[in-house]
């Protein structure tokens, strides 16, 4: 502690030790310089305690809550979508693609130099060629490829954002 003022502020703030507190109390009681300075700082301290706070505008709380409500409402839609829905859509596509792949393979006529394998049980595989013409199938596969690229792009972007 350096100055009288610093000692007295510590005394007023209650931030000095018990020993220091006693010593300063004694000085205030006996030393007129300390007594005068103490009275001066005490009055100043009282003024600071009585200082008034600024009042915000009447609609302040309303404005804050409105801003919060607007922010909540404008949250990106993807943040509100249930992940189970996305998983269900993904599962639908995976199953569809798998089923189409199986049918396509089953309907394809491959020739081999070896003997043809005879399946003991005759399996009835539905011929879906009536349902899927060439252009429709191509269009569907094109859509799947675009969707897969889009999802890959989203995933890579997300990973990049997290990393940065």
């Amino acid at each position: 502690m350096n100055s009288i003022e610093e000692k007295l502020w510590n005394y007023l703030d209650g931030s000095c030790s018990t020993k220091e507190h006693e010593a300063i109390s004694h000085l205030i009681a006996t030393d007129p310089t300390y007594q005068q300075k103490y009275q001066e700082l005490l009055a100043f301290n009282q003024e600071l305690e009585n200082m008034e706070l600024d009042a915000p505008p009447m609609a302040f709380t309303y404005n804050v809550m409105e801003a919060i409500r607007t922010e909540e409402a404008s949250k990106p839609l993807k943040a509100n979508i249930d992940h189970r829905i996305i998983k269900a859509i993904a599962a639908f596509f995976v199953v569809t693609i798998a089923a189409l792949l199986v049918i396509a393979l089953a309907n394809s006529h491959t020739s081999s130099v070896h003997e043809t394998v005879q399946i003991p049980v005759k399996v009835q595989i539905p011929t879906l060629t009536n349902y899927f013409s060439g252009p429709v199938m191509k269009g569907f596969l094109f859509f799947d490829v675009v969707l897969a690229l889009f999802l890959l792009d989203e995933y890579l972007r997300k990973r990049h954002t997290t990393a940065s």
């Binding site: 502020w9 600071l48 200082m51 008034e52 600024d54 915000p56 302040f60 709380t61 804050v64 809550m65």
Partner: protein, 193 residues
Amino acid sequence: MQSKFSDIELIEQTLQGNQTAYADLVKRHQRFVFTLAMRFTKTREDAEEVAQDSFIKAYRSLQNFQGQSKFSTWLYSIVYTTAMTFLRKRKLDTSSIDDENNYLQIENQSGGFKNDLAENKSRSYYVNQAIEQLLPDDAMIITLFYKGEQSLEEIAVTLGIEPNNVKVKLFRARQRLKEKLERNLKHEVSELI
């Protein structure tokens, strides 16, 4: 009307989706937060913007509030950061506020209210006037200590400095405030004579 719930109870209710609880928290702390913002921005419009931003930021990060300190201490640290960012954005040279030239400018501004001199201004008016002339950091420390019910340790958390530094800063801020108050009062008396 102030809510009967504590800050922690209101936070819990807010986290459960009750926005009215957060409105109660805002009502409870708005006056002090606004005053703190005023210490930095010096204008009501900017202070309103800073105070509003602070409450919105606090709402967004409410889940991160651990409850290790008082909610007010946590909130004031958000106000401090928001106000500092605001000042940086505005490129306001805060250090020049204490310059003699600016002091004279502030004096001249108050000179426009000569008609009010006859009015019996309260001491509180002069204290607030002197606080407005302080550096934002000085004004904030004094406000936090006297009106924010914050201990030196809590102010240290808010400002991100050591408690001993807060003690030194508070001492210097009070000295500067006292000087400004004395100078302002002397000026007012000479104007009256």
